[in-house]
Symmetry: C2
């Protein structure tokens, strides 16, 4: 199952850090890439590509002008999950989503999500019905979708690797990719 994120309505001035956090969470937690709409942001793309170079893997990032086209094209082969505080509890739907083996596009809203997104999604899913963050919502969703296995991922061709420690920091720099 391929999992991609669709981030709606990115505004470089306002959302720079939150979108970066969102995409880094998507990458670290097993999504294969992200598409974002709103305003094209070359710095954002470079930042994510820089993380791939240092920390490995091949997380893709691309900009799309028209979210509606992206969703329609995705629905030809896969299904769509929309994360929203108004949706059904993840506890109620995660088993069904996990069992469905088709590719998944996870829609994560920006400022205002068009009503059409609620209709076009195969699942509107809430991670609590309280306001919090698209970053925390996506994290818990991916953690549940991959059933915790995303915590064991290895990222190929990493220049830097952390060796987990009880105290302090240990980072190994690969000579192969320098």
């Amino acid at each position: 199952m391929t999992v991609k994120i669709l981030r709606l309505g990115h505004r470089p001035s306002r959302d720079k850090r939150v979108t970066t956090h969102l995409l880094l969470a998507a990458r670290a937690l097993g999504a294969s890439g992200a598409i974002y709409t709103g305003v094209k942001d070359d710095q954002l793309e470079k930042r994510i590509q820089g993380i791939n170079l240092s920390w490995g893997g091949c997380f893709e990032i691309s900009f799309a002008k028209d979210w509606s086209k992206e969703i329609k094209s995705w629905k030809k082969h896969g299904k769509v999950v929309h994360l929203t505080m108004y949706g059904l509890s993840i506890k109620k739907v995660i088993e069904e989503i996990r069992r469905d083996e088709s590719d998944k596009l996870i829609i994560v809203g920006g400022a205002k999500v068009p009503g059409e997104v609620f209709n076009i999604a195969d699942w509107n899913v809430s991670i609590t019905s309280q306001p919090h963050s698209e970053v925390s919502a996506l994290a818990i969703f991916l953690h549940e979708l991959f059933d915790g296995n995303e915590l064991n991922l290895t990222f190929e061709k990493a220049r830097l690797r952390i060796v987990p420690q009880g105290q302090g920091k240990k980072v190994i720099e690969s000579q192969d990719n320098v």
Copy 2:
């Protein structure tokens, strides 16, 4: 078990939205409050208190000048978890942390975390050894700590309540608290 967050090194101009997301995630996912250090930010505090008023509960937010004092005072009755990409995998330590019934202070770094924090923490815990976000790291940590039960929390005295829907939005406004 009482769980509080200690957010280190908040900078209002740069971290405004990320700290807001972090504290809202802490609130929605069952922490009882947060202490933050760095620069005092009245707007941040008002924003969180406004969320309590609309969405219920009594999540506390307070500013502290000296993180070291806060940790030392916490350690008189509780234990300290530091979330860091350099720490031991959550999979390895979460059972032990769950079993330990003392109150928990969850330290979440800002720009630069002083080395002393790694030494003073009872557990240095990583949510993957990849760079992502303090918001996603905290979300998965709380979700694991509370074993998913945080998704069923109710927030007392809420003015607004969402009724989860497969499609669309349904919000009930309480007349009691208007």
